[in-house]
C-alpha cells in the first residue's frame, strides 16, 4: 500500500510506497516508520519541501572519505553487486520444496469448516 502526503500550501505531494529503490546502489529498502513520521509531520507543517531538500542535500553531497581506501572499495563492491543484480535479471521458476512438517502444519492451521465454506463460496 502506498500513501500520499500533501503539503497543500506549497503544492507539494509525495507518494510513499512500501519499498523504495536507493537510486545510488539500486537496492530496494522498506520505508521506515521514522521516515513516514517525519514526512507526515512536515506535510502537516507545510514544510515538506524543506524536509525533501535537506534530505537530498545530505544524500547528494559527497561525504568526506572516512577511512581512506576501504570505504571506496566497499562502494565499488556495492556498485558491482548492483550491476550484477540488474544485468542478469531473469525469472526463475518458483521451485519450493516443502518439508513434511510444514505440510502437516498447513493442514492443522486450516479448519475443515473454513475450507468447506470457502469452497462453497468460491468454487463448485
Amino acid at each position: 500500500m502506498s500513501n500520499t502526503y500533501t503539503d497543500y500550501v506549497n503544492k507539494i505531494a509525495i507518494t510513499v510506497p512500501e519499498r523504495y529503490i536507493d537510486v545510488k546502489t539500486g537496492e530496494s529498502y522498506s520505508v521506515s516508520p521514522k521516515i513516514v513520521d517525519q514526512i507526515e509531520y512536515h506535510a502537516d507543517n507545510s514544510s515538506l519541501s524543506h524536509l525533501v531538500l535537506s534530505a537530498l542535500h545530505h544524500y547528494l553531497n559527497p561525504k568526506p572519505v572516512l577511512s581512506g581506501g576501504s570505504a571506496e572499495i566497499l562502494q565499488q563492491l556495492a556498485d558491482i553487486r548492483a550491476m550484477l543484480e540488474n544485468g542478469t535479471f531473469h525469472i526463475q521458476p518458483l521451485v519450493k520444496e516443502k518439508t513434511i512438517k510444514e505440510q502437516t502444519d498447513a493442514a492443522k492451521l486450516l479448519n475443515m469448516k473454513e475450507v468447506e465454506d470457502i469452497l462453497e463460496a468460491f468454487g463448485g
Binding site: 521451485v95 519450493k96 516443502k98 498447513a106 475450507v115 468447506e116 470457502i118 468460491f122 463448485g124
Partner: protein
Amino acid sequence: MNNYNYFAVDIGNSWYKVLASDHGELREYQMPNAIALYDDEFYEKPYDEEDIDLEENLIVEIKSPAITNKREIFYAGKAAAKQRNVSLTASNNQKADEDRTYILLFAAAAYHASIINPNDIELTYCIDQLAVSLPTTQYKERKELLKQRLIGNHTITLHKVPGILEPKELIVKLEIKDVIVGAEGACAYLGLIRDVDTLTIKDHNLVKDSKKGIIIGDLGGDSVDFVGIKNSKPVASVEGDHFGINLFLDTIIKKVSKNELYTFDSRSELEEKLFAGQSEWYVEPFAGVRKDISKYVIPQLRIMAIKYLEHFDRARSSSSEIKGASRYIAVGGAAKLAQNQIQEAAVRWADKGRPIELTFPENLEKLNVFGLMILAKMNQLKKQHENTEELISIEG
C-alpha cells in the same frame, strides 16, 4: 497436501495462465488463447531444429470425449499465433462449449508434462486436482458441463516435436481425477488474501476491509467482471458490457498496419510488446527502420481506462450490498497495462466529485490463477478429509 499434482488454469480471452504444482514444485506458464488448423503441406521445416522451442512449435492432436472433432490437428498457443489462419477468441464466446477451450487446456497440460519428463516420448500424467475459471455470467450454468468434460482420460499427441527422432511424436496420456471451477474475479480475492503454499491468510488488513465491502474489477481480454466481497465472501457480481482490451488491441493493430506498413501476427505479439514497457513500443517494418507506435497505443489505453472507470462507477452504484465498499481493487492483465492511464483518468473522476481510488496489487495479472491453485489444494484437502472420515465411520 503437497503429495499431489495440482493444475490451475485461468482461461483468459487473451492468455491462458497456468500454474502447475507437482509434489510441491511450482511452475508457471502462459500461452496465448490462439489456435490454428494444421496443414502438413504448409509446414515449414525449421532451418535449425535446435533453435526451435516446443512452445513455438506446439502441434497437437487430441483424442478425448470432450472434443467433437477428433481427427483435426491444431497449432496451439504461441505456435498458432504465428499462423496466417489463426483463430482468436470472439466476443461473447462460451468457454465451456467450445472445442478450443479443451484443445488449449489439454495442450498446456501435455506441454507441462513433457517439460517435467524431458526424456520420455510416451508418458502418463495424472492431475489429482484441476482448477479452472469461468466468467461470472457463464459460471453458474456451465460449470457442471465443464467439469464433466474435463474429468477422465485424454490422449494428447504432440507432433513435430523438436529434438525428438522420427516420427517426431510425443504421446501424453492425461488423467484428470477431479475438477473444481472458480469464478473469475472472485478467485483473485483468494489469491490476494491467502498464501498459495500454506493456504493461510497473509493479508489480514484486506480481510478486515472486506467487512465493509470490497469491489474487485477484473479487466480481461473480452470481458470485465466486477465482484463484490463482503465478510470474505462474494456477495454480488456485475457483468459489464462485453468490454476488454482485445477491442483496443485490434484498433492499434489496424492503425499500425495502415500507417506504418507493419502487421502484427496476433494480439499476443502486440500485447507482449506493450507489457515489455514503453521503450519497446516501436515496430520495424523494414530492417533498420524503427517506427514509434506509442502515438497509437496511448490514446487507445486512455479510452479503455475511461471506460473501465465508467464500468466501475456503474458497478458500485448498481448493487446495494456493496455500495459502501471501502476498497476498490483492479486486477487482470489489461488493468496492469493501462495502470498509468487508469490513474490519470481517476484524477478526473475525483474532480467530478465521484472519486474512484483504485488499488493495484502486486501480481495483479496472476491473482486469478493463484486463487485457482488455492481452490485446487483446498478441494483436495476436503476430499482427503472425507476419505478419512469414511474410514473412521467404517471402523466405528
